[in-house]
Symmetry: C2
Subunit: 254 residues, 2 copies
Amino acid sequence: MARADYANKTISLGIVVFPGFDPLDIFGPLELFSGISYTHNWTLSLVASKVGPVSSRVPPHVMVPGMPPLEAGHMLQQSIVATHSFQSAPKLDILLIPGGMGNVFLDQHNDTSIEDFVVQRFVEVDYLLSVCTGSFSLAKAGVLNGRRATTNKASWGWVTKSYGTNVTWVPTARWVEDGKIWSSSGVSSGIDMTYAFLRHLYGSEDQGLTTLMSTIEYAPHTNPHWDPFAVVNKVPGANETASLADCVAPVGLD
Amino acid sequence: MARADYANKTISLGIVVFPGFDPLDIFGPLELFSGISYTHNWTLSLVASKVGPVSSRVPPHVMVPGMPPLEAGHMLQQSIVATHSFQSAPKLDILLIPGGMGNVFLDQHNDTSIEDFVVQRFVEVDYLLSVCTGSFSLAKAGVLNGRRATTNKASWGWVTKSYGTNVTWVPTARWVEDGKIWSSSGVSSGIDMTYAFLRHLYGSEDQGLTTLMSTIEYAPHTNPHWDPFAVVNKVPGANETASLADCVAPVGLD
């Protein structure tokens, strides 16, 4: 059932970016948000500490206490252009927080700009989405207290143990929906969550969404309980009896 | 069987970007190329007409002769930063050409800069990859003459009829491999092709690649003949008897 008040409004989407963000956490969902903006009115703010290029290069950061920082400077990097700062970002209807190891660097340098922004905008937004370890920032912001959420299963240990009170971390979940907070598992899960999210907003009959999926030739995982990566990554409490495979097909065939 | 000469070399990857490129055509493959650069030596050149931001916004362009130009200015756009110009790009081992409707605009404005670059670098590169309607540029460059290739099935008509001599356009194909030219179908197909491509380079035993897929939680389509979107998009000659579904699972389980 579509959200009636979203049918004809201009939806203001904000996506936070930070040095060492994971590009696919953003560009998977954005392929759908951008595509749906052909038939529906949306605006996009790419929000960072300041306007201008933001690199996916992960600054050196300590992953194991007492060990030297993990160096990732030799890896390929790409820069995208932030359109707004945390201060200049407009009113938002939807806010998406991606993951990427850059958020570990920020945490280790006592930079809480992402979390401060989440707290500041939490009441205003209709929806708060996280992809991958973006839920680390949500937990740190305190908005997951008493809620259910998930994260990248390869990062389960450090994400779930770091911040948050009474957070019910769901070990087997492609994504979790708890009220207005939707959190996905790792990286590519973001696009599956976004498809489900857009169906939530516009209903299952939205032809623009169906056509879009066939244009980008993506057959989404539509079962939020399919999560073989929790098993592969040995997450405690993962459902080991469910099938590791999922059979996907183009949407809109029935 | 891995390519022996790639095991220890630094691989120079070039990706062309142009106004109106499709971001996921690039960032799907780049998630894998960037990830593999943790354990293998790669360099990346994002190549455009000039260094600096390049927008995904599609300029107005005529899709139906005699009709007004298609306006896409209201759609969401993102800008990424090109690191090299066509003139300054270094020697490349692999060149990837994405799609996106911006290449139609360039064609209609007699801008052949992408195709000129492909021709200029064709002998030098070990591999030439295209994602989605990037194969339109390859056909226009003449490098598909007498070869097999595919393209986005939602764009089949205009891509396959525009340029090229004796191009065998393969209607049912997630991706096609013809010697050093690999071409994928639409958008999300690029990541499946890239996984197969990296297995071609490094072999099926490469642990870095297997771990990467479980970290980004992507279960790839590994059958290049799975192409339900050819059927959905009514491509002439599409295989209508094959299953529209594909069952995918994490790699490296066996």
